[in-house]
């Protein structure tokens, strides 16, 4: 069920109405029913996978909780309990990530094997369930947190299932944490008009980004970025630029819809984007883009890795052999590199995603190792890093690096990535701007709409970045202005979004990741 489908909107309206009508004790059941309906509407088989994962992690949580409750008599028993817990958590992790691996990466692995061998192993052609990696990551964070003793496990399997399957976040996250989300899901609430207003506004904003900007930009992207692309570098670069626009507006728009819908139930979901356009470095970018994935990777991959025994040894070894900073951060840099590599692979089963991981990993690790040198250069050149000019330079530079990275995520395969990059640099053919661009499926009006749309998005984010709450500001304007803005927004959504020529409700780019 796509966010842009009428059935999603009907489901949302119906569940919001019911949510505030039923007795408060039953409110969370409405959310659970709505979530089940959402998933069943897509595929019953896929629904079974959610139930399986939820069931497995719930049971694991209970067992881990039981061990946590034991007060160890001595160190030996403590170690024994710790060992048991570890075993259980590892079994659960292997099952969950094994499932993820089987569904998303098995066929890719087969392709890597020599064909004589690969052809004899059956392929796994299951339909990948909607948002598979999102709910696996989310439930694994619960298991690990319980393992770490961060909180007690949830005893009620239905309440726990709601945490795993809460419908607005099923498609593309954000990846929530149990302690942050679960209490909100099961809380009892009075109707709060402010929440409804803010939620609806957030969702409308998300729809604007998604169907007015992203879906429109996608037309050009799909006509340019392909195998054997016949165009010159300038058009390819335009295609990738539009892909950046499409990806951001589609993904962050979808998250806004998610957060908006959740807010209508009074639920405050965690942020997934914080004005990534204003990033001043690639590290900064990954802290602002898909925040919950980064945080998940930090808490459940980076820290365990950095504190693991092999990394401890590596750190000691590095301290001995390298002087100064280099020796001190060698281990963390390696861990960082691995995390970005995994983030790359998380995007999909393809060499180009591995390359995407390497691209980010290498740049970020290199910048870590070079940090001191950069600082001294800056001092020598008398650069004030608080100045606006420097910030703009850094922002543009960061966008350039992200832009290049997007060649990896959009091109159909790794070889094409390099072909496209090569053409961009070597054969720009600027004259194609006038001859080719008008033939790429977008009319003048579409370019204007995208341009104005981007200006609006950028403008809003500019104020958000400066700390203004744009929504609050808007809701304090005179009634007439508010009604005008609302009416214009609806007309814009209707004319430039829903009724785009030959409009077919599109699917999220991120939902299969």
């Amino acid at each position: 069920m796509a966010f842009t489908s009428a059935s999603f909107i009907v489901l949302t309206i119906a569940s919001v109405l019911l949510y505030y009508i039923v007795p408060k004790k039953a409110q969370w059941c409405i959310l659970l029913l709505a979530s089940a309906a959402f998933y069943m509407a897509g595929s019953v088989k896929a629904f079974a996978w959610v139930v399986l994962v939820a069931g497995m992690t719930w049971v694991t949580g209970l067992i881990l909780g039981r061990y946590n409750a034991i007060k160890p008599a001595d160190k030996a028993q403590k170690a024994q309990i710790q060992h048991k817990k570890k075993q259980i958590a590892i079994i659960c992790a292997v099952c969950c990530f094994g499932l993820l691996y089987a569904m998303k990466y098995w066929n890719f692995t087969l392709e890597l094997l020599p064909s004589a061998l690969g052809n004899h192993i059956p392929r796994w052609d299951f339909v990948v369930p909607l948002g598979l990696s999102f709910f696996i990551f989310q439930s694994m964070s619960y298991v690990i947190d319980v393992y770490r003793g961060k909180y007690a496990p949830e005893r009620n399997p239905l309440r726990y299932s709601l945490f795993v399957s809460f419908f607005p976040q099923m498609v593309q996250g954000p990846i929530s944490r149990f302690d942050q989300l679960a209490p909100q899901l099961t809380a009892e609430r009075k109707l709060c008009w402010d929440d409804l207003q803010i939620g609806i506004q957030l969702a409308l904003w998300g729809y604007f980004k998604k169907i007015v900007i992203a879906d429109r930009a996608a037309v050009l992207v799909n006509n340019v970025i392909m195998e054997n692309c016949p165009y010159g570098g300038a058009v390819i670069a335009l295609g990738i630029l539009f892909y950046c626009i499409q990806l951001y507006c589609d993904f962050s728009g979808g998250i806004d819809i998610t957060r908006g819908v959740a807010r209508m139930f009074g639920i405050d979901m965690t942020l997934n984007f914080r004005q990534p356009l204003f990033s001043t470095s690639l590290t900064d970018y990954w802290r602002r883009w898909h925040i919950t994935l980064g945080a998940w990777m930090r808490d459940y991959v980076f820290y365990p890795l950095a504190f693991s025994k092999p990394f401890g040894k590596l750190g000691k070894w590095a301290r001995k052999h390298f002087k100064g900073m280099m020796g001190k951060i060698c281990a963390t840099s390696t861990a960082t590199f691995i995390v970005y590599l995994i983030i790359g692979i998380w995007h999909g089963a393809n060499f180009r995603y591995i390359a995407f991981g390497l691209w980010n990993g290498i740049l970020i690790t290199a910048s870590l190792l070079m940090e001191r040198r950069f600082l001294s250069w800056k001092e020598k050149l008398h650069i004030n890093d608080k100045s606006t000019g420097w910030r703009i330079f850094m922002t543009v530079r960061t966008f350039g690096l992200v832009f290049i990275g997007r060649y990896f995520t959009r091109a159909p395969r790794l070889k094409t990535v390099f072909t496209l990059l090569g053409t961009t640099v070597l054969h720009p053919h600027f004259s194609e701007f006038t001859s080719v661009v008008p033939t790429l499926g977008l009319g003048i009006s579409d370019f204007i709409i995208i341009f104005v749309g981007i200006l609006i998005v950028h403008g809003v984010e500019f104020f958000e970045e400066r700390g203004t709450d744009v929504q609050a500001w808007l809701n304090e304007r005179p009634a007439l202005m508010q009604l005008t803005v609302l009416t214009v927004s609806l007309v814009v959504l209707l004319l430039f979004g829903i009724f785009r020529a030959g409009y077919i409700s599109s699917e999220f780019i991120y939902k299969q990741f």
Binding site: W193, L196, I200, N475, L486, L490, G502
Partner: protein, 617 residues
């Protein structure tokens, strides 16, 4: 404004916007879903969605019809008038582009249940084995809910009331651009329901090479990997259902298979094609026009899949031959292998036949048309020639073995297949000067050669310019005309009645018509009326004297437009001549090859040796 008011105003605004949208869509009705009450522009609506709009049209007009053509777009070329005459019926063409047999079945049921239906002509095309019960785009392919038991009125109304307002807006914009002739947005003829092919039906066609050049689709035919006709069985079940409902209700059902262009067959697996037609024979007898020499002649097709209206006339003629002998068809020059009545007993081998591939051999007869104006000793320019030179030219043509033919012979060849002599040639004179009678006619008589004189109606028998004292070259009168026609050699045809005016003599007339072309700023309707009136006058001026039909015209100065030819055709003009030099490629069964024919102007300086050598090529 507090949050509560804001939230509650949202549904109110949504409802207001929805109401505005629905109102706009209802008034403009770009798909003809609601009967187009306000604009009544069905040719536009049907272009957007023939399925819904045609039923809306019939809801208001079904008492004007009692018979229907039904099928996908190739059904369009079945000739309404000929079928009306043949079956003494009033046909409406319910062609719907991309129609599958499920659509046809639903509509046939609706027609028979709700309207008077005497005859139903069902066209089965290869594509009907490819798609069945398909609804790819809801707005343009949706059936009218009244004809579709699978659709509720509610979903129908909500679909069209809440449609993209740009369709309605576009209709308003196009209304301003509307002309008499069809454009891409109004391709249907409201009254007959068929595609309005007036533009393509008056286009000069010419040689195979010219045609392929103008329509490269036949050279680069859109072929793809062969497809399976998986829906054949479902399609035939619907045909059987239509046959059953027709039998139960006493409706005369004629099933036919339209001509398929030869290269189109390559898009399907051969055994699937055989199975398709053979399966059809099992459920009903039918007229098969699918594979014949017609399929290999690109000039018989408008485009890669649609055969010409002329071919529809041939189909009517073929059906009449067997079943309705009282009917006189417009065209009887029909390829002998075109049209077979297929029954369940037709042997299997019949269905494995495919048309020959297209060749570059031109089946056309090359016919040069020569033209002169005035014969005089006082030679100046290309419109005059001395009688001596004229005689020499005629002598040379005769020596070269050229056989002059009348326009009637030419017409007979195209329409009825009457053979032409070797080396046919047509001689013509423009304007109707007295010298044609005094100097040319005797020479032609001497050599027993036929010629056509295109006379300006208003100038017949005059030596002063119309209603003035201005002297002009003398024109022959009624007596001369009669004498020439009686000789059996000369035919008098039209050079317009008064659309070849001479500006210096047209005192006080600020809209001088020097030619048949549309005047700047003249509306299409005014122009069409002027042309029709002029031709009627011309025919009234000539026909009573000669006792012959005026069905040919030479364009003054060679000027004309699409609208001109269409207006002329409606007045019975079947041959027209320009001043463009060249030889004409004339094809049996293609009346268009008689339109806008090329002519070679013969002058005092024409070198006959070179000229004849050129002709011989």
């Amino acid at each position: 404004m507090n949050a509560k008011k804001w939230v509650l105003s949202l549904p109110v605004i949504v409802l207001i916007l929805a109401a505005l949208l629905a109102g706009f869509n209802y008034v403009t009705d770009p798909f003809g879903a609601f009967g187009d009450r306000f604009m009544q522009w069905f040719s536009y609506d049907e272009t957007n969605n023939p399925r819904a709009a045609k039923i809306s049209y019939l809801e208001q007009h079904h008492d004007e019809y009692d018979s229907y053509f039904l099928g996908c777009s190739s059904t369009s070329s079945l000739p309404t008038e000929s079928f009306n005459e043949m079956l003494n019926a009033k046909f409406y063409n319910l062609i719907m582009y991309g129609a599958d047999m499920k659509d046809c079945e639903k509509i046939a049921n609706y027609l028979i249940d709700n309207y008077t239906v005497k005859n139903l002509v069902l066209n089965v095309y290869l594509d009907n084995g490819l798609t069945y019960d398909d609804e790819s785009n809801k707005l343009t392919h949706s059936l009218h809910y009244k004809t579709d038991p699978d659709m509720s009125a509610l979903s129908y109304y909500s679909r069209f009331l809440l449609a993209d307002p740009r369709y309605g807006y576009q209709k308003l914009v196009n209304k301003k651009k509307d002309t008499l002739m069809p454009q891409s947005f109004d391709v249907f003829d409201e009254q007959t329901g068929a595609y309005d092919k007036r533009v393509r039906d008056v286009e000069p066609i010419g040689s195979t090479a010219d045609y392929l050049n103008a329509y490269p689709v036949f050279t680069n035919y859109p072929n793809h990997e062969p497809l399976h006709l998986y829906k054949t069985e479902a399609c035939m079940q619907s045909v059987a259902a239509i046959r059953k409902v027709c039998e139960e209700n006493g409706v005369n059902l004629i099933v036919l298979t339209a001509p398929v262009y030869t290269d189109y067959y390559k898009n399907f697996y051969d055994e699937d094609i055989t199975n398709f037609y053979e399966s059809l024979a099992k459920v009903t007898d039918y007229w098969d026009f699918s594979s014949s020499s017609v399929s290999s002649e690109p000039r018989f097709f408008y485009d890669s899949t649609h055969f010409r209206n002329n071919i529809g006339e041939m189909m009517a003629a073929r059906i009449a031959e067997k079943e309705y002998p009282d009917f006189t068809p417009a065209i009887t020059a029909i390829p002998s292998d075109f049209g077979t009545y297929v029954t369940a007993d037709t042997p299997h081998d019949y269905f494995t036949q495919r048309p020959a591939p297209r060749t570059d051999d031109d089946t056309a007869v090359q016919v040069p048309v020569l033209t002169w104006h005035q014969l005089t000793e006082d030679v100046s320019g290309s419109a005059t020639i001395s009688p001596e030179t004229f005689r020499k030219q005629i002598q040379a043509l005769s020596d070269a073995g050229c056989n002059t033919i009348s326009l009637e012979q030419l017409r007979d060849y195209v329409y009825n297949g009457t053979p032409l002599p070797e080396k046919p040639i047509v001689l013509t004179f423009d304007d109707g000067y007295l010298s044609n009678y005094e100097d040319a006619f005797p020479v032609l008589g001497e050599y027993n050669m036929k010629a056509t004189i295109f006379a300006i109606g208003v100038s017949i028998g005059k030596d002063t310019y119309k209603d003035t004292d201005h002297a002009m070259t003398p024109h022959f009168g009624a007596a001369e005309m009669q004498e020439m026609v009686d000789s059996g050699l000369i035919s008098i045809q039209s050079h317009t009645y008064d659309m070849h005016q001479w500006p210096p003599f047209e005192d006080g007339n600020d809209r001088v018509r020097e030619t048949l072309a549309q005047l700047p700023g003249e509306s299409d309707a005014d122009y069409e009326a002027a042309v029709k009136a002029d031709i009627q006058q011309s025919q009234q001026a000539i026909e009573p004297i000669t006792g012959e039909k005026v069905n040919a015209l030479s364009y003054p100065e060679g000027a004309y437009g699409t609208l001109t030819m269409d207006a002329l055709r409606s007045q019975g003009i079947e041959l027209t001549f320009t001043t463009q030099p060249g030889v004409n490629a004339i094809v049996q069964g293609l009346p268009q090859t008689l339109y806008s024919m090329h002519r070679i102007t013969m002058t005092e300086d024409t070198n006959m040796d070179e000229f004849l050598a050129e002709l011989a090529k």
